[in-house]
Symmetry: C2
Subunit: 352 residues, 2 copies
């Protein structure tokens, strides 16, 4: 392997433009104190030579690394990739994050980190030391892991917390889970439903509670009883089966169910089929996440759309601008969720 060196360095540009390294550096970084004429001269040398600064060198000399680190839960992510059930969480993160990074000359690097493990700290420290990212994006359940936020805080690395209220630092961003659940409930009420069941997600995620709360509020607004219409799952298909068997095994069973994930909604659909309950004629079904699978099932699922791409995009933006202005949002940035109505919901069955 021949020692690979930078083809065009700041020196070449400086020589070509007949200025000092510093002036070139100022131009690259859009810093003040450069005459316009000078700036143009340098820029034209840059363009002519096709000069691109080495981010390694930039990082070395103590400035930015132009790297944003996105932290995801290792087990869950790998499991999702292996299972191939069409969850496109990572894709949507990339869509929002990479493109926004690219706009600013940054890159996004994904890192998988264990949640439960003792070596979260070691792993994260290693990633920070190796990469020295300018910002870190935390996704649930990392967003509320004090080991992680504490470390980031201690190392003074700016970080965004998706799905967190942000107590104790960082930029909190939430996706309007409660409002979305409430609106979905309202919509079902509008369709005449009175017994609306809810399948909650894992307690490990705070958004599970928010979603449930939205349903609760929606029901209360309509003056409908909640009774024991809420059953807890863990977002996975199997837990959805158990929850749906519980809800649909009752007499009378709920005429509508909101599931906190698409997989649990699918499970509910399958249980309904098992029991001869037609969707949407006898049971309306709404799910959370709106992963691709919702459009391919029969019937297609009405789903609350998590605006992942937009949220990550905002997070990246805030992280990058955090370098200049220090004005960071203290109260959570709310990216509202959408609702995609498909044929899995309909009017409540008459007489129910």
């Amino acid at each position: 392997m021949p020692r690979r060196r930078q083809a065009v360095t700041i020196k070449h540009v400086a020589a070509d433009a007949g200025v000092s390294l510093q002036t070139v550096s100022r131009v690259i970084n859009n810093e003040p104190n450069v005459r316009d004429e000078m700036r143009k001269r340098v820029q034209s040398s840059i363009d002519k030579l096709g000069y691109i600064p080495s981010i390694a060198a930039q990082r070395m000399s103590g400035s930015r690394s132009y790297l944003i680190l996105a932290l995801n839960d290792r087990d869950r992510t790998i499991e999702a990739w292996r299972a191939r059930q069409g969850s496109d969480w990572v894709d949507q993160m990339l869509l929002g994050g990479m493109l926004k990074c690219a706009e600013h000359g940054y890159r996004m690097v994904i890192e998988l980190v264990d949640t439960h493990n003792d070596h979260v700290e070691r792993e994260l420290k290693a990633a920070l030391a190796a990469l020295q990212p300018d910002g870190v994006i935390l996704t649930p359940p990392h967003s509320d892991n004090p080991l992680i936020t504490g470390l980031l805080e201690a190392q003074h690395v700016p970080y965004a917390r998706i799905g967190s209220l942000g107590e104790g630092g960082g930029i909190p961003l939430v996706m309007g889970d409660e409002e979305a659940a409430r609106d979905a409930t309202r919509r079902l009420v509008e369709l005449g439903h009175k017994r609306i069941g809810f399948i909650a997600g894992s307690n490990e995620y705070r958004l599970s509670e928010w979603r449930k709360q939205g349903w609760r509020v929606g029901m209360a607004e309509a003056g409908l009883p909640i009774d024991n219409l809420c059953v807890r799952g863990d977002f996975g298909y199997d837990s959805g089966l158990v929850a749906a068997r519980d809800l649909l095994g009752r007499d009378p069973h709920p005429t509508a169910i909101i599931a906190s994930s698409d997989q649990m909604a699918l499970a509910a659909r399958d249980v309904a089929a098992e029991l001869g309950i037609a969707v949407p004629d006898h049971l309306s079904l709404v799910s959370f996440d709106n992963t691709p699978v919702t459009t391919f099932t029969s019937p297609p699922l009405s789903a609350i759309d998590q605006p992942i791409a937009e949220t990550v995009s905002r997070a990246v933006e805030l992280l990058i601008t955090a370098h200049r202005s220090k004005e960071l949002p203290q109260s959570p940035v709310v990216i509202p969720a959408g609702f995609v109505e498909r044929s899995s919901i309909g009017p409540a069955p008459v007489g129910a």
Copy 2:
């Protein structure tokens, strides 16, 4: 922003172990000429202090960057992310690539590059200059873009070419497209099918031809005529509609169709439904790619499984070891595709 410095550097380790920087460097990089005892002493200092080398510094001083760059087609990738049709190509790349990278202390960075555009070269040069990756993974259709391979060749950056035969350099890896298409054809023949239609993919991808060739061979082996049973699409759903209308509009229509992508197979299913042709009773359907959607449609699609994760994993491995041994595979590395049989295929209708 306080100037963020490395917490623990090679100096700290050297001081702690009472050796020179050089010796520590040798230990980190597993180089020879260090006594075992010395190595242990240094290693224990490293562990004690939790030292992790900065990849920026490593790159600066002319060694590796510990970065592998994965190049994907910009338009197609963004389009796929936006459409949310469950293609998990990127996820599978990450699954194979990231994990293998992690094993070796590398990271994978995804970069989107235009294919058709004039500035492929500028974009790629910029990415190489900024990141200085130790290796590049090319995916179709970049794998056979001479502008790209030429540039990589000129810059002496090791690169892998997925879905390419590798004329002109780089490490070629293919996913057994021809064999897979042939085997699928054989399976359909086995089920009694005689008129097996084929929907080809875009000519821009070489694997389109390989897939078609496999079908051709399979048909020839069985002594079946090909006639005009092959129609070309572009992998997308809409092109599948056109192709399927053509094939299924004939009298007699094919009793089986192999589509070169899941989306085109879905289109064929929809056209069949439109025409009242039952799947699999009157039409057997096989697709390529085996993206998640295949399991959620009704009926679930039999599909040839592209071993993307495994292929990218192999590519990363070859790229990383390319640094030590210079023995790179010249003839294409073949990762065989799988075949997942689901209920979209069945015996040929009697009398057909």
